[in-house]
Structures are given as C-alpha cells and as structure tokens.
C-alpha cells in the first residue's frame, strides 16, 4: 500500500494536490484512500479534476470470483489502461458482468460471494484489509443494464445523491448547481432537462433515465466508470446518445463497458477483451486493440464469436 501515491498514474494536477492537502495527524499517508482524505476534500478534488483528472488504471490479477462455491470467473488477468474505453464481450453467462462487479466490490455484496486474486486501482489493491469498499465505489462509478434512477428523487437530487449521501456533511450542504450542470452536460442530458430539474427522475424516458444514471455516477468525480450493458434496454437513438457520451468522457476517465452488441464494442472501445466459458467458469480468452480483435483475432474462439458463428 506504500506504493499507492506513486502507483497512481501520473497526473500532475490531481494526485499531488490530493496528497498535499491531506490534513490531520491521524490520516495515514500509507493508505491512499482514507476516509479523511475523501471526506474532507471533495471540493478540492472536484476542482482539480475538472482540469486534468488522475485517471485510473485497473490491474486485474488472477481473479477468481465465486458465487458460494461455484466459480463464475476463473483466473482472469487484465490490464485496463487509463483514459481508454475497454469493452468486455462474450456470450451470455461468461462472467462479463461478474468481472465488472468485482472491479468495484459490488460482487461481494451478494450473499455467499467471494473472490481470490486481486484488483488494483492505480497500484492500490481494492481487496486489501485496510480498504473500505464504500470508498472504492466513490472512485469507481457504475451504470447498470436497466436505468435505475431513484424513484423518490427529482432529477437534480438524483444527480447529487452520491455527493449528498456519500461524502459526509460537506456534500450535504449547498445546492451544488455547478455539479448538477457539469454532470448533466457530460452525460448529454443537460439541454433536455435544464428546465425540469425538479421533476421526478422516473418521469424521463428510458434513454434519458440512463443518461441521468450516467450523470449521477459522474457527479462524484470517479476515476473509472463501469458500464454493464448500458444500452441493452435502449432504442437506437438513445443508444447513440449514450455512445456519444462515452466518447466524450474518454478524455477524463477510464471506461469499462460490458456489451452484447459487437458493433457497439467496435464503435466505442479502444481495447476489447473477449471472454468465454471454459469448464463451467468464465475465462479471458483474448485481449487486444478493438481493430485486432475484430479483424485479426489470434484465437479461433474469438474469431468464431466476432464473426457470429456462435454466441
């Protein structure tokens, strides 16, 4: 864990400021993500990141994830580059979503679930003892398959919920109009909802709801955004809007997207990872640049899948 500050990808504006502004004698420098750092400096973090964001590299090492005793994925090792879009493709049940849920610790919230191996965000192990999964998830946002805005909240409250409920007292204070606008603009929803921020989030159309969920995830300034088939419940036009959003976000954060739609992977991803089921558990078959995976895959299995011969 000592490697945390150096292990984080170089980012001249963000990371040093974060470290330098760490106050208090009881906030250990050894741990990168201490509650103190996050709770006391959200404003500083947000300000830093609006210029250049310390983006997250994710390193997955020999990850095996179980639901009770049955492994859902086995021995997956993968390097996810910062500020890139990485697509996970593969047939149903190959563990794409499970892998994604391991990256922000959500997998472990399922009863009976456990993991072997390790996931590192910028050099810090997410599964080491001193790391609180809640803090991981403040750095690694997630968008789900079905749009799930909070039904009790307005559009504005939906965007701010992570800030208000996740980041302590400071987040609860103030209206954060700037955060609302910035997040909604990033998600490509601002123009459509700017005059109806007080309407319930669930009153939007499906595609708008999904972009609202993206805005909600962006409002807490994550390093990484995980997307679990974000367009599978959307029509083509909404899909296009979400894909545009992904393209515009790439410069600021790392995106990992699970998709069943190979055209979508080809459209949005820089890197594509193909997973398949072997001996009852999902394994990583091949990783490469999206062009390589779709035009000159090295494995026969990959070729069969991307050419539509199975799956």
């Amino acid at each position: 864990m000592n490697t945390a500050p150096t292990g984080k990808p170089a980012s001249p504006a963000g990371a040093p400021a974060l470290e330098a502004s760490t106050p208090g004698p009881d906030s250990p420098q050894t741990t990168m993500v201490t509650p103190r750092v996050l709770a006391s400096q959200p404003a500083a973090r947000a300000a830093d990141r609006s210029i250049t964001r310390p983006a997250g590299t994710i390193t997955i090492r020999d990850l095996t994830a179980y639901y009770s005793t049955q492994p859902a994925i086995r021995d997956v090792s993968l390097e996810v580059a910062a500020n890139r879009v990485t697509a996970l493709i593969g047939p149903s049940g190959c563990g794409k979503s499970t892998l994604l849920r391991c990256l922000n610790g959500l997998h472990l919230t399922t009863p009976g679930a456990r993991v072997d191996g390790d996931v590192l965000l910028g050099g810090t192990s997410l599964y080491s003892a001193g790391i609180d999964p809640v803090e991981i998830r403040q750095r690694i946002g997630m968008v789900f398959q079905r749009p799930n805005p909070f039904p009790t909240m307005s559009i504005q409250d939906n965007v701010l919920v992570g800030l208000r409920l996740g980041q302590g007292r400071r987040g609860r204070r103030g209206r954060h109009d700037d955060v609302v606008e910035r997040s909604l603009r990033h998600a490509g929803l601002w123009e459509e909802v700017r005059n109806s921020l007080d309407k319930p989030g669930a009153s939007l159309s499906g595609g708008q709801q999904q972009r609202l969920c993206i805005a909600r995830a962006l409002a807490v300034s994550p390093d990484v955004l995980l997307m679990d088939e974000p367009c599978s419940a959307l029509d083509p036009i909404s899909t296009l809007a979400v894909e545009d959003t992904i393209a515009s976000l790439k410069s600021e954060l790392t995106i990992v997207i699970v998709t069943h739609n190979m055209q979508q992977a080809a459209r949005v991803a820089d890197t594509t990872a193909f997973m398949n089921v072997r001996q009852g558990a999902g394994t990583l078959v091949e990783v490469g640049s999206t062009t390589d995976i779709f035009s000159t895959p090295k494995q026969k299995e990959t070729e069969d899948y991307v050419s539509g011969r199975f799956g």
Binding site: V134, P151, L165
Partner: protein, 341 residues
C-alpha cells in the same frame, strides 16, 4: 364447418372439410384427433399442427369459453358485492346509530355519574385513547421498523428465528398479551396508562415488523446496488434510499397497526381498567379509553348509555379515518413522486 373456407397454404392449415389442395395428402375427415393422426402419418411437416377451422368459425369452444367467462365475472362480482356490503352495512349502521348521539357535547364532556342518564360524552375516553395509543405508537414504530430493517437487510440465522416468532406473535390473541402485561407490570405497579400502552405496543410490534419487512422486500435490488455503486454506505442506503422508497407501504402498515390498537379492548381491561369519572391525562394512573367506554356503556342495558356507546364507536372509526388520511397525505409528500416504475 364451412364447406368453402378461405384458401390457406396446405402446409400450414389443412381443413378436414376442404377439398384437398396438395396431391398425395388424403382428405382427413372427422374430428381433429383423427385428422391429426392421419396427417402425422402422411405429412411430417404438419405433424404437430392441430387442424383448425378458419378464424371466426370455431363455435363450440369459443362459446364455452365465453359462457365460462361470463359465469366467473358474475360470481366474482357477487362475492365482491357481498364483501363490500357487509363492510358498508357495519359502517353505515355505526354511523346511523352514532350520529344520533354524536355532538360537540359528546366530544367535550365526561359521562354522567348515573349511566342511565342522558347527556355527557366520552371526552376522557378520547383523550385517554389518544394518549395510550400515542405512547404505544411511539414505542412500537421505531422498534418495529428497526427490527424489520435488521431482519431484511442484515438477516442471518437469528433473523429466521425472529421472523418465525414474529409470525407466531401476530396470531397470539390479544387477551393473552394483556394477561402477560397484567402479570408482569400491573401486579407490581397497578393499573396504568403505561401498562396499557405497553400491551398495545406488544400487539402492534409484530404487525409493524411484518408490514415493513414486506415493503422492504418490494424495493428492487437494483436500487440498492445503484446506491452502493455511488459510494454510499449500506446504512445510508437503507436510511436515505430504501426506507423512503418503501415509505408509503410502511406508513400504511403502521396505520393498520394503529387502527388495530385503537379498537383493542380486552388487553386494556387488564391493564388500564378504565375511568369513567373524569379526564385523566397522567398515564401513570388508570385511564379511560374509547374502546373501554364503548364496552362498559354498551353492556349496561340503559338506552342512553348504549347511545353513547354507538357514538363512541363512530368516534373511533372517524379517528382512524382521520389518522389514515393524514398519514396518506404525509406519505405522498415524502414518497415516490410520480414515475413509471
């Protein structure tokens, strides 16, 4: 069957009565069963396809279904009407009898010393009921909701046992609860509003736990995960996301429990005892409640007292109605605002 059905592709539908269109396939005659078997033997492509008459001409099956449909609609409407009729009858009778006596005086005066005399009211009972049920609510709602949150959100082996015990407690006759509180508290400290409130709280608690847990179950897992994925802690998620989402159902459950407590009489006989003489607001003493006064006045046999009992019954119904309305309005303001979910 029509002798000349509209022409259909022979490999999709072959009407037994129609002239054969495909050479080599024999004309199947008779019921669909035999037609099926004949076809299965000759044309494998239509082996599993039952013979169907043209659309709009199948009379017997459709007629039977329609008849069944109408019969069931009539039966179910009748049952519904019966259920509602009983309810309306009870409420209407209480309202008709109660309104004869319900007046501002009834709400502001205590019963006359002589039960056969007219006049007077249940002011002490109304106040007593509000106080006792209020205390019981203040005890049971926080505990009940917290217990339900534990059962559903944290759970474990203890939760299974606790859930079973709760289910049993719902079915315990309330006089048993009253006797329990009598043995535990009244024998030592005497009759009091507090003892009654504790008994009512014990009756309300399992109802609230069950209703709340049921409502928590309706909150989709996706919402919890969405919240967790934002870096919101589990406890915050429960307090700020899950409970508000389930709030309208939880409020309804709590109102049912309050309504139930409002009408309870037996456990209060054993704990509060009643007080027909004056307005007692100190729950440390024996108090009057509406339900007890309805009971004691109804069994006297004096017409005036029975009139008061009816008015008291109506007052109880109205109080519950008012509470429910307030809770609904409050719940609507805080809970799900619109949405397509």
């Amino acid at each position: 069957m029509s002798p000349n059905p509209p022409r259909t592709p022979p490999d999709l539908v072959s009407d037994p009565a129609a002239p054969d269109t495909a050479p080599g396939v024999p004309v199947a005659a008779g019921t669909s069963d035999t037609a099926d078997s004949t076809e299965a033997a000759t044309a494998t492509a239509v082996a599993t396809m039952p013979t169907r008459p043209p659309l709009g001409q199948s009379t017997t099956a459709t007629a039977r279904r329609k008849r069944k449909n109408i019969t069931m609609i009539v039966v179910l409407s009748a049952v519904l009407a019966l259920a509602i009729a009983v309810l309306v009858w009870v409420l209407g009778y209480v309202a008709a009898e109660g309104l004869k006596y319900l007046s501002p005086q009834f709400l502001t005066h205590t019963p006359p010393g002589n039960p056969s005399a007219g006049g007077g009211g249940f002011a002490n009972g109304i106040i007593g009921s509000l106080i006792i049920v209020g205390i019981a609510t203040a005890i049971s709602i926080p505990i009940g909701i917290a217990a339900a949150v534990y059962l559903h959100e944290y759970g474990g082996r203890v939760a299974k046992v606790a859930r079973f015990v709760t289910d049993v407690l719902v079915g315990v006759p309330t006089i048993v609860t009253g006797a329990f509180v009598y043995a535990l508290i009244v024998i030592r400290y005497g009759y009091s509003g507090y003892a009654g409130a504790i008994a009512l709280a014990a009756i309300m608690l399992p109802l609230i736990i069950r209703a709340t847990e049921e409502m928590l179950r309706t909150v989709p897992r996706e919402l919890r995960e969405a919240s967790l994925a934002l870096g919101i802690s589990k406890s915050r998620t429960i307090v700020s996301i899950v409970l508000p989402t389930a709030s309208s159902g939880i409020i309804t459950g709590c109102m049912l429990a309050i309504a139930r407590a409002m009408g309870e009489t037996a456990p209060l006989l054993l704990t509060v005892l009643g007080n027909d003489l004056f307005v007692e607001t100190n729950p440390d003493h024996r108090m009057a409640t509406l339900s007890l006064q309805v009971f004691s006045n109804a069994i006297t046999g004096f017409q005036a007292a029975q009139g008061r009992a009816w008015a008291g019954a109506l007052t109880m119904v109205l109080l519950v109605l008012i509470f429910t309305a307030i809770a609904r309005i409050a719940g609507r303001r805080t809970a799900v605002s619109g949405g397509k979910r």
